[in-house]
């Protein structure tokens, strides 16, 4: 038959077998890497936080702590630093269960209100509004930033919660955030979710987060 004379490079069977082997190998490698990754991105525990064990995704109880984002000399990227205890809506003794429930309620609210179709979370979503990955640490919400005084609140968490409930009252730009009917409880939960998200080790994204402010605002 003619088939026999064709070199392997022109043989359908050869390429079909190649396709099967290559695909099988890629799938197995992906599964193996996923089995390694999932435990690494599963949330840590409250004990980890107490003992200073770093996790890529810390326990939700991280809302009891101060969070920083600093250049790490070894990795040469910015990484989240978990500092001392810090009040969050007047408390710093959220138990693991309480904190986990709160952050989860926040995440459900973020999903129900469709935040991701204007903002990005961990850089994924829409580009109509600022990235929320490290919004908890954003200087705009700090003591000196423009938004906290605008809401007349004393702390970052209260200022953010107030803004979330009444975005119409605090237009930060012509492109306003709509009123999504976020309740006071939901607002607290969303802020807890955002605080927790800022403690995730994102390999240095976003880069240079507010590091060159002085150079830009050379007042």
């Amino acid at each position: 038959m003619e088939e026999q004379k064709i070199s392997v490079w022109g043989s359908v069977r050869f390429w079909r077998n190649t396709a099967v082997w290559v695909t099988g190998f890629a799938v197995l490698l992906l599964i193996w890497l996923s089995l390694d990754t999932i435990p690494q991105i599963s949330a840590g525990t409250i004990e980890d936080l107490e003992n200073g064990v770093t996790k890529r995704v810390p326990s939700a109880a991280v809302i009891n702590y101060e969070i920083g984002y600093e250049l790490d000399n070894k990795r040469k990227t910015e990484i989240p630093i978990i500092g001392g205890k810090q009040m969050f809506f007047g408390r710093n003794d959220y138990s693991e269960e309480e904190a986990t429930e709160l952050v989860s309620h926040g995440k459900m609210t973020v999903q129900s209100k469709n935040c991701m179709n204007c903002h990005t979370l961990l850089g994924n979503g829409a580009y109509y509004a600022p990235d929320l990955t490290k919004s908890w640490l954003d200087p705009a919400w700090s003591e000196t930033g423009p938004y906290r005084p605008m809401t007349g609140k004393a702390t970052t968490e209260e200022a953010m919660a107030e803004f979330l409930q009444h975005p119409n009252k605090y237009p930060t730009h012509a492109r306003m955030m709509p009123d999504l009917g976020i309740t006071p409880d939901e607002a607290i939960a969303v802020v807890a979710f955002l605080k927790h998200m800022s403690s995730i080790d994102t390999n240095g994204f976003p880069r240079n987060f507010n590091k060159i402010k002085g150079a830009v605002n050379a007042k």
Binding site: A19, S112, N117, N124, A140, N203, N208
Partner: protein, 480 residues
């Protein structure tokens, strides 16, 4: 005689036409909501509080995903009898599932537009939407989709086992099974946002950069055999090479989405390496189509369906440019660290989806149209030319505008301002950004014009072709 009756003998192909029709309606909806959101970029008060950006964007994206899936299912129902030589098994159930799916899609869209948002609890996720980009469909609809797709797969498998199982059908069977299975990875709630996005990318990335790509490789293979009489043996060999290259690079290429979501550092290397290889098969597909075209031109055999073939040429260019080149431009972590989640991403997303999937599936619809009226030959009409030119030009124009916006945003917001809240708005306020958004809007309008021509053409091209064919027949008899 000019006839408007369907000339299709297979029920499967009649059903395919119905799938194409709903797909085109949803394509129109997609463009409409793209328009409202593009206007909001420039005039934020437009429809504010009525159809907010988030709502319009959700409809824009979901209409796109759903219409592409409709067109994909339709194309399979079209080619299945041709390939297997028999009527599709279980076609009655297939038709019933079509009506169920269409009803479900209608309800989902109405709820998106009317209810829009719900309270932060599980009920919202089950009944309104899931709030996860691209796969927002509420859980009840997810389950419905799984049932419908299982039925569809059942039909395809039963038909392939009963009839002739060609290489094209074999690839499609395996690929559709994987495509459907992946959807399950997006169907559960998790409290952990990193774990959430990890699985979310299994659906999104492993769809568009693995299973959907293999799907179009197989379908374009069928299309080339149909339109220019390409050699089946060579086509099937090429498809297997494509499968090896696409899956070999695309599956682990998922790592380019695992740079910054909390996942370990080794993904930086894996993602960079494998996703950098992803353009290779796309270049291969491009070369293959051009090569076959050259061979066909040499043989001087008539091309039986010029509009379909033109769309296949657009898809090979567009896939290579939009996915291959625009994808490669931001796929290395050194660059992606700064471009991640900027207008860069949107530029790539538009050209890639259009080039890889929209163009290929419109090509299949033209094959369907030709078959529907039993035409031996179908040539480009003026509207077909306007449609393909304005649609492609419009999307290319939007992509260029968004690429400029992406550059400016990356420099100002990411480079200069360190990605802060204030930096974001300084970037957005830059006159260069605003100008780019203006061009995106203008080019969006061009795209919509192209769609209008396409629709007009799809409704009239068969008549035109019948008239032309009659004319040539009568001149042929006159000279004889």
């Amino acid at each position: 005689m000019l006839s408007r009756v369907m000339n299709v003998q297979y029920e499967s192909q009649k059903l395919a036409i119905n799938y194409f029709q709903v797909a085109l309606i949803l394509f129109g909806a997609q463009l409409l909501f793209g328009l409202t959101t593009a206007i909001q970029y420039l005039y934020p008060q437009f429809l504010f509080g009525i159809i907010d950006f988030s709502v319009g964007r959700m409809v824009h994206l979901n209409a796109m995903i759903v219409w592409l899936l409709y067109a994909m299912i339709g194309s399979v129902y079209w080619l299945l009898p041709d390939e297997t030589g028999i009527e599709t098994v279980g076609i009655k159930i297939g038709r019933l599932l079509f009506y169920i799916l269409t009803l479900a899609v209608t309800i989902v869209v109405v709820v998106y537009l009317v209810v829009q948002v719900g309270p932060g609890n599980a009920m919202s996720r089950w009944l309104i939407h899931e709030g996860r980009e691209y796969i927002e469909a509420p859980r009840w609809a997810d389950i419905g989709i799984v049932v419908v797709v299982l039925g569809f797969l059942g039909n395809v498998f039963a038909t392939a086992f009963k009839g002739k199982r060609t290489g094209i059908v074999t690839v499609l069977m395996i690929d559709l099974l994987a495509l459907a299975g992946l959807y399950l990875a997006g169907m559960f709630y998790t409290k952990n946002v990193s774990v959430d996005q990890f699985w979310w990318w299994w659906v999104i990335h492993l769809w568009v950069e693995a299973t959907w790509e293999v799907y179009v490789a197989a379908v374009i293979g069928y299309g080339l055999i149909k339109t220019i009489g390409a050699n089946r043996k060579i086509i099937e060999m090429w498809i297997w090479i494509e499968v090896a290259m696409l899956f070999g690079s695309g599956i682990l290429g998922i790592g380019h989405h695992y740079f910054w979501i909390g996942t370990p550092e080794y993904w930086l290397e894996i993602g960079a390496l494998f996703s950098a290889l992803e353009p290779v098969p796309l270049l291969g597909m491009f070369v293959h189509v051009i090569y076959d075209w050259g061979k066909q031109a040499g043989k001087r055999t008539p091309m039986t369906n010029t509009p379909a073939f033109s769309w296949f040429v657009v898809t090979t260019f567009g896939n290579f440019l939009g996915a291959g080149v625009w994808g490669f431009m931001h796929t290395l972590p050194q660059i992606n660290l700064y471009t991640h989640g900027t207008q860069w991403t949107a530029a790539h997303g538009h050209l890639a989806f259009y080039g890889a999937y929209v163009a290929a599936l419109i090509g299949m619809m033209y094959i369907g149209l030709q078959g529907k009226y039993g035409l031996k030959e179908m040539r480009m009409t003026a509207s077909a030319k306007w449609g393909i030119t304005l649609l492609t030009g419009g999307v290319l124009g939007m992509t260029m505008a968004l690429t400029i916006a992406g550059y400016v945003q990356t420099f100002i917001e990411r480079g200069q301002w360190g990605a802060t809240w204030q930096g974001y708005f300084v970037g957005q306020n830059s006159p260069w950004m605003i100008q780019a958004y203006g061009w995106r809007l203008a080019m969006g309008v061009v795209t919509i014009l192209g769609f209008v021509f396409l629709m007009k053409d799809m409704m009239t091209i068969a008549r035109t072709a019948q008239r032309e064919n009659l004319k040539t027949e009568s001149t042929a008899t006159a000279t004889a």
